[in-house]
Symmetry: D3
Subunit: 286 residues, 6 copies
């Protein structure tokens, strides 16, 4: 995901404006207009940094000098200073919470994602960990970017970039076969077609109908193995990507990964984010 | 928090547009334009409903019929149908994820907040549970509204509606007394003045300087009691509101509340939200 | 491409506002505020209708009654009344040009696309005609939708929905193989990977590297045949989609299509649009 | 037409954001973040440059260095490098299509306009070539600016800057005389009043009623001459500007111009644009 | 000035959103969500109504029922109820101030303008009273519309709808003649050309150079008479419109008008507005 | 009130864009693109400067050099040059009116406010002069900032930052006591509660109910004194802030202030602004 800085700047200033309202009443009342400060952004727990690139764009827009001690994707430790920020005191204090809110959320997502991807990596498996569209409203770019920084796969970014036929679609269309057939006919050849299935037999139908990706919805590891075996018998393996979704946790993830499924997708890494505890501390008044 | 429907509609359509991108490729490819459906939004865990009013605004804007079986603030149970939705099939399917993402997040916040406020209520204490500005960027209204639905206090909505002097401000101004003095002189008489303090003695200084609210930052319950005792000796109780912030959890909250502090504020209820598991299921195709 | 009406409405009102400026000076000066009219939108040449759905959204938003005599994708003849519109006279006259400009452009794109797709269809070939990203700035949705209405394939909608490695990318990365390898590793599994090649041998490299789609850039029909033959020898046909781009015109399109290439893409259908000549004529003053 | 750079920048970044979506997936996957490139924008056909000023604003906004070898209004030849661009490789590649789409369209409009204005100029006639409001939705500024660069007259920019009474208005008001009378009474004295007429006699009525400009709608050159003769007899020449609209092409334009009509307006130069074929080629990787 | 309701609605909801912030804290705290009310908007001084059409658009958007007892341009008396409003109590109270602020300002402008235009009308003079571009930032449409409602002329709406050469332009171009010559050559034939002059002799130069309108800047009535006399001698009257600007007040306006000048323009009617005193009073709680 | 420059820039460019429309037709026609100028902004009457900070942000955004000879809050005299501006001639001329309109309005508000605050200050009274929400739609920030620059108190900025119970609220709730009780229960502890009363006895009720601020609506100085006396008897003074509103003018303000009331609020300083007469004069052409 690469958006130019100017496009990001617009979104970031929107977040700041939401917090500022008609103006920061505290700094206007008690902080002189021409004071400058240096400040540290300090981690109070360890994690994986994400949002550094975005905060750098915001800082530049606000005429603040930013030196990052970690890059996106780097590990930081408890008590580590991850960013030095300096510039006008009112601006630093007014932007403090917007900066921390974004950085804490994005780093929280990257850290949770990375915990999962590292587990997989250590076993030498190649299973991908993927996000879903269960992101916070308005934060699609930032949530997905953080997943990617944590080593995960962004999955769909919009409703326009993949045909994903779910149970609700099939309830209307009638069958997996018809849905795939219609999708292949009507959708652009540039899109992959994914189908959500509830049982191994449906996976076989979807594969035969020509799905590029099959989402095994709420399958147990055992059911996933059965599905792979069934597809092997039908000569459908290698052609289709298998994605398992539902019921996967940090605890059982290796059990799922070891089935040989290609992708494990989890809504939790974006819909139930645990923010990383960060704070901004003024270190020098100039 | 009351914003008229039209103001909410603009924000909600922005969330939908983010998800839609250039258009839902799946429904366009396989769902007939004139199919209508009925659908249920079902809870897969119990909780406190929030976001119902907002989703009703979005549904109306999209010409969908919505019947809510629960109102904001009501308890729902696992497997309960909380909303019936009907209308154009493409529209229902395109809006499904936006609806669920907002409803799950808001209900998650309300449920977590309510768990805390109910603990307090059952003890007949009157301690308030308050949120902070640690909301997801762009979601200030929705996160704060959900806190309120869960029985919590919204605290500040913008940087413009309360003077809140924190340690970083004092690092520049020099002393609690000077900060309060300047705030009283320069800020509007319509704003309260809150000061963050690190030790009981600072709380005393802040009270004497005329703070309306004192935030006891990372105080233990024992330190809170000492502070209240100190203020009592100084004749400052009754005039000032005491807010405790930092280190408070669902486990120790009654210990904190029993100190007699007025407000307990927690960043976690908005920065580390656990979404409620909800799904939309089509029940009838027309 | 399906975007809900409310999302379209915002874009369409933006187009109207651009034309209105601070207000329509002519109707304000000479047309009574409470006059109503009936009007016809008449075609002055034959073509394929596109934009009808969009104009219906705009008309509803403006409280105008619209009856369309043709649906998107239908053929209309010279002098045919394609839409009846009625309502407030000032509103009809103020919106006239915005309505016609969009309808004329979209119908022009659909008509040009349809001319090509019909040529293919009549030969019983299944070659797809596709658009490119050479759309008018700000009109991506409308230009692509019109291509689709005309029977064409939208191709990419954004830079986020397909990996398309072009010569400029390869100039930086170094080789087709490296580019595909990096793309496969770093991009989401939900995206297809397309590679632009200049010679049959490069097509072979791209296919072996695992490209999902190969764009044969400025190939003659003869070179396309050589490429298909080469891929057949290498056992790569059937796995990869071949797209031919550059030099294709209405005159030579069957020559290209008969090579067996899967997709023919043309920038002209969106970057050099010939608008359909339509006018709005008031038929009754009420 | 002069709008400050910052106003243009907002529009141009909107065009870029439309193309980028949630981010350029290709450059993010395969182009290193810190690579720099030099690139040429090359013409593949000759024409008149337009959009150079606008692209310079966009390049500056994106921190790209731009050197233009031609200015707006200059002639360029086939194979000529019209712009050198350098900077971050990801940014260049992400912005490539937005830059080319705007430049190709604007140069196409300027070239088509210039072909007409040059024909006139070579005959020493002073007839003006003017555009209409038949511009692409959302591109009013850019289409009109390109007309001007090509030597044409922008005509109306909004519905607010000229009173233009067309047949549909007269159908409601009743007569040319009443329309002009009402316009003169109710519209600002700062606006000219133009009336569209279908016959020479109506032109006489409009002139007598005090129209500043008369649009001769679909008049043949012979009818235009009759109209001028009629106005001369009535002593109305010199006071009123005559504009001929409808049926004018590159082939017959001198025939129209030689009638002595003041202005020839053509919808085609903006509603049926033939884009100039331009490409961006990376020349150096740094 | 006629802008469709939907375009107005967007601007009006922007004004409301500015006032609401994150939500009306008072109604949320104390007014039941389902209470309905009837309310009167009452005038506390007499004047000319303006803004009624705009407020009707806002009321409809907010699902409030509005009955206006006066139309735009009508006279209202002290204590007169000008509007009856009914609907949801929270909505009425939240929108109250936005409604009154706009209505009071627009009616204030219309009343002040009308005072001047009535003075002229009673003398049977036909001098026009015109506004300038000295409107409140962001309120161009509303301020100019109110001038028009009060019987005044809007003058320019944007910098794009009239060529107005002022002293600062002439300081750069060098002379009135050169400025008019360049304007005639480079500007669209659809625009009038106005020139600001400081002395009668300059007015003569401007007229001879072909200006459509001459602004007599800070001329006394005596100087205006001299100018008209000078132009008469030169045979330039009848062709050019004379506008007097600067130093005109309600007291001396007839003295200016009696000179025979065509237009009197005053910045005061929009830059120094005296709002009409209006209030909203709830008359019934349902 | 402190909003970062980038947030201000967006608002200011919006004001400029409103004035520019599709482009400044005059400068485009007659001013060379590469001319530079120096210009003075000159005061034609004395006053208090406000808006200097905002105009500096706009100038920087437009690449103009600005040197201010006065700071916000400073006194300027008739004929004083308050700002020197230099840069591109077209940009200076295009932005001239937007700059002057904002500066004239803000300085007008600051000057009127300052006249009142100075009267108070000279008597050694400490009464505050406060604004209301009667600001021009869309100009809340600028109007309130100007009040503050003039020495006044901004009062509420949004409907979200103070509970203000007015007569219309009480008409629904039933009594002052109930309103305050509900507000105290339902509103955030971070907000003050203000109640509007019509009679001294109601003020007593409000004070006893726990209001933080009491607005004495349309009280005479005598009634204010009675109220203060009554509250003194009830032991309520010192706890509650008294604000007098209605009927206060520059003439009688000291009479009101001498009653000992804490705050005097006036709608006039923002709803009926007299702009300061400023002009921009080009002093050098380069």
């Amino acid at each position: 995901m690469f958006a130019t800085n100017k496009i990001l700047e617009t979104k970031l200033l929107g977040f700041l404006a939401e917090d500022v309202g008609q103006g920061d009443a505290t700094v206007a009342a008690i902080i002189p207009a021409d004071t400058n400060v240096e400040a540290d952004i300090v981690a109070h727990e360890s994690g994986i940094a994400a949002g550094i690139e975005e905060i750098a764009v915001l800082a530049k827009s606000l005429d603040l000098k930013l030196d990052a001690n970690v890059a996106d994707g780097d590990i930081f430790k408890t008590k580590q200073v991850i960013i030095n920020l300096s510039g006008n005191a009112r601006t630093v204090l007014t932007a403090e919470r917007t900066i921390l809110n974004l950085l804490s959320r994005m780093s929280g997502i990257a850290t949770a994602t990375n915990e999962l991807t590292e587990k997989i990596r250590k076993t030498n498996l190649v299973t991908r960990i993927a996000a879903t569209r269960k992101t916070a409203p308005g934060l699609r770019f930032f949530d997905k970017k953080a997943v990617q920084v944590g080593g995960g796969d962004t999955h769909r970014l919009h409703l326009d970039d993949l045909i994903l036929v779910k149970d609700n679609h099939i309830a209307i269309v009638g069958s997996v076969e018809d849905a795939v057939k219609k999708a292949r006919k009507n959708a652009s050849f540039t899109k992959k077609i994914e189908v959500e299935v509830k049982k191994p037999e449906e996976a076989a139908k979807a594969a035969k109908a020509g799905a590029d990706i099959i989402m095994l919805d709420n399958f147990t590891p055992e059911q996933i193995r059965q599905t792979i075996e069934l597809l092997r018998k039908l000569g459908q393996t290698g052609k289709v990507i298998l994605e398992s979704s539902g019921g996967i946790t940090a605890e059982n993830i290796l059990e799922y990964a070891s089935t040989g499924v290609d992708v494990l997708s989890l809504g939790e890494i974006t819909h139930s984010v645990k923010s990383i505890d960060l704070s901004l501390e003024i270190t020098k008044v100039i």
